[in-house]
Every structure is written in C-alpha cells, then in structure tokens.
Amino acid sequence: MFKRLHELHVPVTFDFEGETVTADDGESLAEALLAHGVRHVRNAVVSGQPRAPYCMIGVCFECLVEIDGRPNRQACMTPVRAGMKVRRQRGAADVGAGGEG
C-alpha cells in the first residue's frame, strides 16, 4: 500500500514469515514491511483481528513483531538489518518466551 519514490539506495534483505523482503538500508522495519505490501504485522490479543502500524513514531505499539525469536519489538523503531528473521506477533504476548535473562 506504500510505494517508494526512489530506487533502492543500499539494498538489504531479511526474512518475514519465510518470505525474503528487500528493503533500503536505513529504513525502519515497519517502513520496509509497508513498502513490501504487507497489510498486517500482528494479530490483536483478544479478537485475533489483523493490525498494522498506525503511528510510525513509537507510540501506538500496533507494529509489534517478533524479531529473531524476541517478541514485543516495535517495528517502527527498529532499523532493518540484513538477515533478520521477523514474524508476526500473534495474540497475547507469551510471558517467559524470548527473554534472555
């Protein structure tokens, strides 16, 4: 639903739900997913309804995804990194999953 107005400057690739996504270095993960045509990035915790980034500045927490096994990452505040593995966050956060402590 978004289109880039320019050629990719420094292309980087990462994995979203098993699919290879090409983004521009310096973009946020949320921007990269929107430009790739991803409509929803997580499912709501009660109804399971699809949700997508809303504020793009770190306020709304609608863009929560799982990055390299760690849940509750804000895609709009995370720069894309080559090789990162990203999954949708589904339903309620699983307390105890993904923590490293």
């Binding site: 639903m1 978004f2 289109k3 880039r4 107005l5 320019h6 050629e7 990719l8 400057h9 420094v10 521009d24 310096g26 973009e27 946020s28 921007e31 929107l34 430009a35 409509r39 929803h40 709501a44 915790v45 009660v46 109804s47 309804q49 699809p50 949700r51 997508a52 980034p53 809303y54 504020c55 793009m56 500045i57 770190g58 306020v59 709304c60 927490f61 609608e62 929560l64 509750n72 990452r73 804000q74 505040m77 720069p79 956060a93 993904g98 923590g99 490293e100 402590g101």
Partner: protein
C-alpha cells in the same frame, strides 16, 4: 536525580530527553553557558518528527525535499548543525523507560539498559497525533496522516493506491499537498473541522494573520487541494471506516447527507497532543487543558515542573509548534542554569527576553488555531458504543460506559475492570478518550475524572535487561517493587 549543587565528574549537568526542536535548542543554549549536556533520543538521527531525517543525504533526499517545505528545511538543517557542533553528548537510538524520583534516568539502547545520572533533566519528548477513535479505525490501512508524513520524510514513501485523508488541522492540508506534489494519490480530503469552529475562531483571525504568514500559507494549501482532489468535503462527521481484514471504504456525513468513497487507505488526523508519558511517570502534576483538549504538565514560565529538578519544553509541554518549541527549549536551559548557579538570574532574564517576546507575539495565532481546530465531540468521546477505544486490549466505548454506570469514577478504576490502558501502549492511545467518556458518563469534568497513572517501565524491557542494569544511580534493590513500612503514621 542528584540535586547536589557541586559539580561532579560522574554527573551530567543537564540530561535532555528528545532531540526535536526544543531539546536541540536547549542543548545549544546550555552548552553556550558551559553546562555539560547529554541528549538521549529514541530516533537514529537528530531533528525530532518535524525535522525527521533532515540530515539524510541519500537517494531519499528527493522525497524529503517534497516532505519539507523549503523554509522549514533550512531552519531544521541549521538547528541540527548548531547542535552537532555544540559539544553536547548525543546518544541516539536510546529509549528512556524511567525517571526515578531519587535515582536516575533509565535508558534502554541496543547495548542494553543503564542508568544515567543528571543534576537537571529536561523532558522534551514532543507531541503525538491525537488518537481518532472512530468505527473501523483498527483496520489495517488506517494510519495517522502524520505517520504517513513521517514515513515520507525518513523513507521517501507515499501511499500507492486510493488514500482518503479525513481530519482537521493544518497537517491535513499540508500532508495532502505534499502527497500530490510527490506523486502520491489522494482520492479524497474530508475536512472534519466543525463549521461552528469557524465562527468561534473568527474574532481571532485578524490578529493571527498579522502575527506571521502561517494563516496565508494554510489557506494556499487548502485552495490548491480544492482544485486538485476529486472529492473535497467540509463539515464532515460521523466517519465509519469499512472493511473486513483491511480498509475497503469510508463513509461519512457532509451537509447532512451520507456519502461513501471506496479506498484502500484512510489517513486520520485530529491535531497533536503532548506526549506526557515520561513526565507523568516521573510524577509531575498534570492539568487538563479544556481548549487543547489534552493533559499538560503543570509548569512555570520557564518549564519547571512540580518535581524539583525536572523541566519540560516544547510540544510535550504545550502544543505551540516547532518555532516556539525552540524558544521554550532556550528558556528551559536558562532556568536549569540558574537553578545550578551557573548563570545569574538577571543575565538569564536578559538572554531570555527575545524568546519571551516571540512567544507573546505568536499567542494570537495559537489562540486562533486552538479555536478553529478544536476536535469535535465525537472524536473526544466516541458516541457509538461499539467503537474500540483501547486498541491494545480491545475495550469499547460501551464497556467504559458500563463500568461508569457500575460506579467506576475514573480511568484507573475502569482499567482494573476492563483492562483499558493495560496493554503495551500503556494508555497512550486510549487515555484521553477513556477519561472523556468516563467524565461524560459520570457528569464530572475531565479534570475531576483524572488521567491514567503512568508507571515505569514506559518502554518494553525484558527482565534480563532490568537484571543486568549497571551504572551510577541505580535504585536500591529494595526499591519500589517492595512495600515499605509507612513512616507517616497514616498507613499505606
């Protein structure tokens, strides 16, 4: 925070949270006076949202040129350049998750969490778009108009399909205007400014127009849009966004008639409100501003809050725009320097005179904008019971009215019953609407109803990150997590 008045190598004189116009200006002033300054910012580059990615010289520059108008672009570039050479310590990519009353500033970055200690703290966290709870606003494809502008600035992207912009405020015209220039699509502009607001604002128009060229600029954007956009409606209300898994259409009322436009994106905007999360977490008193319809930290003319040592400046304190945020940042830095005995009060008054004069000069414009763009009641408290207010926990307006009828007087009690405000955004999206709905339902004012209590950590942090915390100023292990014996004889 350490309020010791003697300098200490381990402490920074002034920690500034946020690198937007207010934070940058404060850093520049504080460094000129000779304070040591640490700027903590969540973004990867200085400029805040208004000057987002202003330094970027990559292939995205072309889109950025469209997303800034040339005047603002020049002002932002100069401000950031002055900041870069100011000698302030700049820490990008850092989220502040706590300001403890006796400890330090809890900072979370890619390398983990740490405590930063400062003798004075300036919260310059700016504004966020006012959440717009209308039916269907949780559907993918619904996004803030300001969010689209931010994406345009940093990533050079625009909506590619059929986008409708619905809302009120200068940003509605500006974003539509910028999208058209950049080659994006705008299927419609739905101006939700109530016609009655024009009558209320009219008496302030002449003085507002005389205080600068802002009014003329806004009118020019609006005229251009009327010519270039297929559907341009004014006095719009009763928005309903339709779709199952994604946006398919928006319907609305204009002039009493319901219309419907097929679209795949809806850009909502009803002005901006201060981001008060951090100031609230720090324990600063806040008051409800009925005209701007938002909470504001209580402060003196120089930004000192009710918490000793903590100051606020910029749109996080009061919505005044980037130009005045610079002046407020300058004044707050002077106040911090006075409080640290690093500048005489008379000298600070002299250095702040021009800023105070400018703020006074621009007051008529702010009054005009506040009157003209005050959100309609259905945005402040959605009348339809089915409308989701708390997006995280999916709590509707109807559920809040139900608990109000059961006797819940405010948002903190309603939270316990409904989970409203308990999700990851911690009430940033629902807090204002929830308080207003409860106020309506109980017959109290919003001020009496109160706001959600905000508690650290205000950013997601793992137990592992908390456990690994190092650095000076770490609160003792028997800190706020454990109950302490009452020492005032009144019990807990």
């Amino acid at each position: 925070m350490n309020l010791a008045s003697t300098p200490d190598d381990h402490l920074t004189d002034l920690a500034i949270i946020g690198a937007g116009p207010a934070g940058l200006a404060a850093a520049i002033t504080a460094r000129e006076i000779g304070l040591s300054v640490t700027v903590l910012d969540e973004q990867s580059a200085p400029g805040g949202q208004i000057y987002r990615a202003v330094e970027d010289a990559s292939g995205r520059a072309r889109a950025r040129g469209w997303a800034f108008n040339l005047h603002d672009y020049g002002v932002g570039s100069k401000l950031v350049a002055r900041f870069r050479s100011s000698g302030a310590q700049y820490c990008p990519g850092q989220s502040v998750f706590d300001i403890s009353a006796d400890g330090g500033i809890g900072v979370l970055g890619p390398a983990g969490a740490r405590w930063v200690e400062a003798r004075r703290v300036l919260i310059a966290t700016g504004a966020m778009e006012r959440p717009v709870p209308v039916p269907g606003w949780t559907l993918p494809g619904v996004i803030g108009a300001g969010a689209v502008q931010a994406t345009m600035k940093s990533a050079g992207m625009v909506p590619g399909g059929h986008a409708v912009i619905a809302g009120s405020g200068p940003l509605v015209y500006l974003v539509a205007h910028q999208l058209l220039i950049a080659g994006g699509s705008v299927a419609g502009v739905l101006d939700t400014t109530p016609h009655a607001n024009y009558r209320r604002a009219a008496p302030s128009l002449v003085r507002a127009a005389l205080s600068g060229n802002e009014v003329r600029r806004g009118l020019a954007w609006r005229r251009g849009l009327k010519k270039r956009v297929a559907v341009f409606r004014t006095g719009v209300d009763s928005l309903q966004i339709e779709g199952t898994d994604t946006v398919e259409a928006i319907s609305f009322k204009a002039g009493g008639r319901r219309e419907r436009i097929a679209c795949d994106m809806v850009l909502l905007h009803e002005g901006v409100v201060p981001s008060t999360q951090l100031a609230m977490a720090a324990g600063a008193e806040h008051d409800y501003d009925p005209l701007q319809a938002c909470w504001r930290p209580r402060m003196d003319d120089h930004g000192r809050t009710s918490v000793p040592g903590i100051l606020v400046a910029g749109d996080g304190a009061r919505i005044d725009g980037a130009e005045l945020a610079v002046e407020a940042g300058h004044l707050a830095a002077l106040a911090a320097a006075v409080d640290l005995d690093l500048i005489a009060p008379e000298e600070a008054a002299r250095q702040g005179a021009a800023a105070r004069a400018k703020i006074a000069r621009k007051a008529p414009l702010r009054r005009f904008l506040d009157m003209l763009y005050r959100p309609r009641d259905e945005v402040l408290a959605p009348p339809d019971d089915e409308t989701i207010v708390c997006r995280c926990e999916e709590v509707t307006a109807g559920e809040l009215r139900q608990v109000a009828a059961m006797g819940c007087p405010g948002p903190n009690q309603a939270k316990a019953f409904t989970r409203c405000g308990m999700g990851p955004c911690q009430g940033r999206m629902c807090g204002l609407a929830a308080a207003t709905i409860l106020a309506e339902a109980t017959g109290q004012s919003v001020a009496e109803t109160g706001h959600l209590r905000v508690r650290a950590p205000i950013k997601p942090i793992t137990v592992g990150e908390l456990a690994a915390l190092e650095g000076v100023g770490a609160p003792p292990e028997t800190g706020p997590l454990l109950p302490t014996a009452p020492d005032d004889g009144e019990g807990p």
